[in-house]
């Protein structure tokens, strides 16, 4: 079991409020991603759950028990650090088995468990090596092995893939997701990369300035962002925001349209007129950055190749069903 509940969790460092009251319900076995810009408090929130920081206020329940005063090791969680934090002088076997050794398990039982974990992660040939003799991806797997061998109630991942190169990151992303599904253990994963968040999560927590902006499944966040921040943060390229008259016509202070929901027409059609400032041709997609005069820069995405170039005039027609409306304070307006 690994059900984690946060009730009004607060954290301040002196006069600085990092977490301004977080309420969250994480179901057993789910994969939850904390995402947000740098300094939004996502890592702090993870460390509060881990017990590496003490909460200033509120309660953290693991399987219904408040663990605020429980030391990290007794919370039954295990953590994968951004730097991996492998013990450099211990072999892979020693690293993975350290937690079990500290728990006072018998030697042969430790060996059995370590070898099982190593087999799951394809680390068996490297068991006797030192961390410095491993590649980045292998070190990453050792760090994960150290986490899974203790059969925790939940895994905590602190930006574990940020030190890997792009190709390896995609591969490890898939491996981590598959491993989590296979073990069925609750996982909390911190990242600033929204692609990681969208692809790995069952549910995403979007954090900004120490507050939870929205909590929901990736597609909920994409299709029904709760406010301007989430709308702008989720999705790449960013959503276009238009204020003024076009927004007022829809009865909103701001309207948002995703680049993929703008229909591109030759000049003279309806919608918003503009001149292409930059055109990016990726083959699979074409991104147009359009200078739309008083509306500012708009981004449009076309799936496939579109032979338009900088300087061409175009009109962009938003898909009326997919216009997001926001009120004065930035909250989404629902019909």
């Amino acid at each position: 079991m690994g059900q984690i509940t946060l009730q009004g969790v607060q954290k301040s460092f002196g006069p600085v409020h990092i977490i301004k009251g977080a309420d969250l319900d994480i179901a057993d076995g789910s994969f939850v991603v904390f995402v947000g810009p740098s300094g939004c408090g996502k890592t702090t929130l993870l460390r509060l759950i881990a017990g590496l920081e003490d909460v200033t206020g509120g309660a953290i329940l693991i399987d219904g028990k408040n663990v605020v005063d429980t030391p990290p090791a007794k919370r039954g969680l295990s953590m994968v650090f951004q730097s991996y934090a492998l013990y450099p002088h211990m072999s892979v076997r020693g690293n993975i088995g350290f937690g079990l050794k500290m728990a006072g398990l018998a030697k042969d039982e430790i060996n059995r468990k370590v070898e099982a974990a190593a087999a799951t992660l394809n680390l068996t040939p490297y068991l006797e090596r030192k961390p410095r003799e491993l590649s980045g991806g292998q070190r990453q797997r050792v760090a994960i092995g150290r986490a899974i061998v203790r059969e925790p109630k939940a895994f905590l991942f602190d930006e574990p893939l940020s030190n890997l190169d792009a190709a390896l990151r995609v591969q490890m992303r898939i491996e981590v997701t598959r491993l989590q599904k296979q073990l069925g253990t609750t996982a909390i994963y911190v990242t600033h990369d929204q692609v990681e968040a969208m692809t790995m999560a069952d549910k995403i927590v979007v954090l900004n300035g120490g507050k939870i902006e929205q909590y929901g499944s990736p597609l909920q966040l994409y299709e029904r962002p709760a406010n301007l921040f989430v709308a702008g943060f989720i999705g790449s390229p960013k959503m276009n925001f238009v204020t003024g008259e076009s927004a007022a016509q829809k009865g909103a202070a701001t309207i948002g349209v995703r680049p993929e929901h703008l229909k591109i027409e030759r000049d003279g059609g309806g919608g918003w007129q503009g001149t292409i400032a930059v055109a990016e041709h990726l083959g699979s997609d074409t991104f147009l950055y359009v200078d739309a005069g008083p509306l500012g820069m708009l981004t449009a995405r076309y799936i496939g190749e579109l032979s338009l170039h900088a300087g061409d005039r175009v009109s962009l027609v938003p898909d009326p069903a997919r216009i997001h409306r926001f009120d004065q304070s930035g909250n989404a307006l629902r019909n």
Partner: protein, 290 residues
């Protein structure tokens, strides 16, 4: 710029400095080698003559030689043990966030900046003096008989003084090493359920293996040649109890005025230092390989 030219330039610019250092080293060594084969006594000037290895035989068969060799090894070993065993807890303490940490660090490091002669004098006259010393006053305060340090435990007293001087060095090296210990590693150990003691044994101590090696190697080099502290406090005595190799050579040359024998002793000391260095590198040098 072609590599060959830059290499030539580098070598020609380096050569004056290297040459000067080489002369600085080779002239005294050659002269010592030369003197060690002469009968050369300052009490009997003008009678220098070639005596072969006679000086070496004289120095090595001198009963003072074995005594001083033993003193040297005891001194080096004890000071190493004291500085490392006290240096580790001290470094751990100084690594803690306390009020006025920078000031405390400065105070701990201070003994290293005191000249050996001065610190030996301070210890001899202000601290260890059997009549007017601080230790004697403390002993009398609790009704004990003051210890006459340099008569009753002369070698131990010298060890205390030298260890006091070298403790800051060991502490400083270990402290910088502690500060480079990855915070996340300690947190990982905490998550793994390691107690403070286990974290120290399994994480901190292995991390300190390399700086400890550095401390042992560097201190050994300097401790083999401790002289000023002995000269100022005990003058090698009582008897031979605090005479180490360095002091023995000094007494050969400038108390007995036998330059030939002292030169031979100097060369013996070089050989001993090399033997010690060889074993040290074999035993602890493995830690230095990355």
């Amino acid at each position: 710029m072609a590599t060959r030219q830059t290499q030539f330039l580098a070598r020609s610019l380096l050569s004056p400095a290297v040459g000067l250092l080489f002369i600085w080293m080779i002239v005294p060594l050659a002269l010592t080698l030369y003197f060690s084969t002469l009968h050369y006594s300052l009490l009997d000037p003008g009678s220098e003559e070639f005596v072969g290895l006679e000086n070496f035989r004289y120095f090595l068969t001198d009963p003072a030689f074995l005594a001083s060799l033993q003193n040297t090894l005891v001194l080096v070993g004890s000071v190493l043990a004291l500085t490392i065993l006290l240096g580790i807890p001290l470094a751990l303490l100084l690594d803690q966030p306390v009020v006025g940490r920078n000031f405390v660090r400065l105070m701990v490091i201070a003994p290293f900046f005191v000249m050996p002669t001065v610190s030996a004098l301070v210890w001899k006259n202000l601290l260890m003096h059997p009549v007017s010393g601080l230790f004697a006053w403390l002993a009398k305060l609790v009704g004990l008989t003051p210890i006459d340090w340099f008569n009753d435990v002369p070698l131990f007293s010298v060890i205390l003084i030298v260890a006091w001087q070298w403790l800051p060095f060991a502490t400083l090296i270990l402290l910088t090493a502690l500060q480079s210990l990855d915070e996340e590693q300690k947190e990982a150990a905490e998550m793994d359920g390691a107690s403070a003691v286990s974290t120290f044994i399994y994480i901190t101590l292995p991390h300190l293996a390399r700086p400890i090696t550095v401390v042992i190697l560097i201190e050994t080099i300097f401790l083999l040649t401790v002289f000023a502290e002995i000269f100022v406090t005990t003058g090698g005595g009582p008897g031979l109890q605090t005479t180490n190799i360095a002091f023995l050579i000094y007494s050969q040359a400038l108390i007995q005025f036998d330059v030939g024998s002292a030169s031979a002793g100097g060369l013996v000391a070089v050989v001993i230092a090399n033997i010690v260095a060889f074993f040290l590198v074999r035993i602890v040098g493995r830690n230095l390989e990355a």
